[in-house]
Amino acid sequence: MDVTSSVFDRELKKGSAELLILSLLEVRARHGYEISQLIEQRSEGTLKFNVASFYPLLYRLEKRGWIEGRWVEKAGQRRRRYYRLTASGKKMLKEQRRTWAEFVEAMRRITGVGQSV
């Protein structure tokens, strides 16, 4: 178990991971494995989900009504569950983006981290 994933797992519970998932679903519907792969790839391995935390998180988002899952069967494939953003999920995404931006900006002002980025 690497440190980043452990830290990130904790973050999952704090809610920042929600933003990641919601953002990835903004463009189109995706299945769970795809979402977790995208996070891993786009963060170049920095952010990594444990499967046992990731699915419960998805279910929680679904239960809140922000995302909606649907079983889809495609020819020659096993059936997969695709998640898409709901209307309230979109609203939540917007809100979380704003909060996150404010948070990052605040961190930047204090720590100076990410100034040049």
Partner: protein, 915 residues
Amino acid sequence: MVDFQQMVRERLKDIGLSPVREAEIVDEVAQHLRDRYESHLSNGVSAQEAERQIAAELYERDLARELRDIEKRWSEPVTLGADERGSFWSGLWQDVRYGSRVLRLNKAFTAVCVLSLALGVGANTAIFQLIDAVRMRTLPVKNPQELAVIRPNVDARAGRIHGYMPSVTNRMWEQIRKRQQGFTGVFAFGYEDFNLATGGQVRSAQGMWVSGEFFDVLGIQPILGRLFHREDDHAGCGMPGAVLNYRFWQREFGSDTNVVGKTVRLEGHAFPVLGVTPASFKGITVGHGFDVAVPVCSEPVFNPEQPLYTLPQGWWLVAMGRLKPGWTLEKASAQLGSVSAGIMEDTLPPAYQEDLRKKYLSQKLYAYPGATGLSQLRGQYESPLWLLLVIAGLVLVIACANLANLMLARASAREKEIAVRMALGAARGRVVRQLLTESLLLALAGALLGVALAFALSAALVRYLTTKPGTVFLELAMDWRVLGFTAGLAVLTCVLFGLAPALKATHAAPARIIRLAGRGLTATRERFSLRRGLVVTQVSLSLVLVVGALLFARSLRNILTLDAGFQRDGMVEVDIEFERLNLPPARRVPFRESLLERVRALPGVIAAADTSVVPISGYGWSSNVVVGGQQVDIVVQMSNISPGYFRTMGTPLVIGRDFDERDNQQSPKVAIVNQQFAKKFFGGDALGKTFQIAADRGEKRYDFQVVGVVRNTKYYDLRENFEPLAFYPEAQDDKPDTWTQMMVRSDLELASVINGVKAAIAQVDSGVSVDFHPYDRQIKDGLLRERLLAMLSSFFGILAAVLATIGLYGVIAYMVARRTNEIGIRMALGASPRQILAMVVGEAGSLLVVGVMIGAVLAVAAGKSASTLLYGLKPYDPLTLVLAAAGLGAVAIAASLLPARRAAKLEPMVALRDE
């Protein structure tokens, strides 16, 4: 490759998800793991290493724990198959939901079941509450079972009998107090209505005379001030004070906590308020509350001329006592018996004639149970109430039979469904439980509605039985025992009949039932005869109830329409009281006449007259008469009246003349008698003849000459036979009272008559108290018992008939449905629709005839037990029986026509194809 699904499933084992949800999660997460595995392999990781990494990731965190907060834990959904894992309770919620859905779908069935149950349960509970209130509830005082009523064993009351159910004179009570040994304390009380107003419209308060020991022996503590004690109650006490009832204190004094020391005016006499009784104490008589209590010794203040307090033949008190520890009623009675002779000797009213003296002296005092207080209602209403309870019980039986029938029909109809479910692997117990749940749901709904109905019905009954506004007639409390019992019975019925067919249906091999479903296994003779039996029972019982309802309704009608000898409508009784004016006796009759003159002069008043006894009021004055020097052993009812009385009442004078101004104190005494009097004592020819009233010892007997004969009229009670009556002119009364009752006949509206009379009397003197009673309403109030019986038995009778009709309809409709195939064959073979119609109606008719025949026998038997409650009818009145049977039959046949017509309209080919 490892079985990822199994891996995930194992991690979810203990969480208790619904199988469907579990499968979904397993599917999704396993898919994820599989994808990961394949990605590892494509990156060149060995299969073994890939498996290890995936297992490590999955086991690193506790999937079950993470899910537990998010996923709803589901109760075990149990399919109707044998589920080894399911506990007994698992799937119960599903059963309830399924059951309520089924019931919602069958609205008519559900409504009939629930209503039948509710009416049965509600009616029984309500009526039982009434019985309980009238008959069985003990007094709300300390250790009521120790209380006893002390009274003579024979009724030797003669003289002045005053108040509510009096049984002793004051002298007798004082002797009882002196000589009794079996009681830790004894007390006496009596009832009196006090007028709170000083002139004008009367404002009545229910008053109570109480002896000094009353509150102490009962163990009542005041909430304000103090109550009476022995030392307050002594001869010549005057007006020591009054004790108020809690409600009266709230109503009249606005719950003023400084009320002690203020005064309450009773008949114009100012009594200082001593204290207030607690809210829980409502008096000692069922159906007769009290507002204010004053000591027995204050009575002479109200009746200074002839106080009951000192009158040897004044019967106005009830004596009670609290038994000493270890003393029984028998022992106390024995002790009282041993001193009775002495008590009677010492208290014998000197005015009593020889035969009455003998009777009086032979009296023995006894102690009777007093825990439930005293009540006239008990005697009046007990048997009708028990009868009503029996009727309500029968309704419950009919309702249960209906329920049974409906449940049977339903279970039969669902046989195929049950068979399919069992063929699919449903366990028998599981199917039975499903049906049981449905029955229980029905029973519960019915019982709940029954509770609501019981509340509403008993409230309505009390309102109906409360004739005087503002008086508390009865306190009804919800009787949970009865409710529990009746609801339990209903539930049991539901369960038994819901279950029996279910058990039976689940016995048979499913395949057989499915094959036979069109005709159904249950169309067998056996099951069907049970349903027929139930319908016959229903029809016969409801005939009994319909006959009963008709008998009581016709009795009431007989009483209401019988010829009482006078016209009841368009009259107002005006109670007039003028004691406050302190008129000497000689001026009282002229004063009354002046009031009469004023009232007669009012526009719209047709006639008006005074009388000392209002017919059918329950009050009276009677005595023996002496004809030809011989005392006749027939009691004659009497009344003092003013001229114009018969015209006012609408009673025709048969012969002779009415009283007029010629009849006064100086002229010879005269009387008018009724036909019955003339017939009994003078062979019909009474005019000009004389008779005497049997006088008390030492009193002068006057000759009365008959100057007129009037038609027979009722006196105490509408139900009585015509008795001999004698009327005397009030102008010749040598002891005229300070009160009278004026009967006013008018064609105006009631309110304007009352206002007119009130104003006219106030013009003469504002100190005169008046109270008004519309006469026909008063008579109707007097028939409360008959009306209650007629109303409730009609209600139950109709209900029973409706239930029986529904039952019959159900059976016939069911029969038609079951025999559709057979009907098709008959029609194919040439039966006409008319023949089919006749066949079906004939089936209904035969059930009806058997039911009616059994019912008729039962009705005659039942009628006999109710014969004392009937008037002008025999219990086996043939007309009533025929009417009831015809009515019930017509409705029932009409109901069976519906399915019969449906059968007759069947297309033979469709019917033959019917499965």
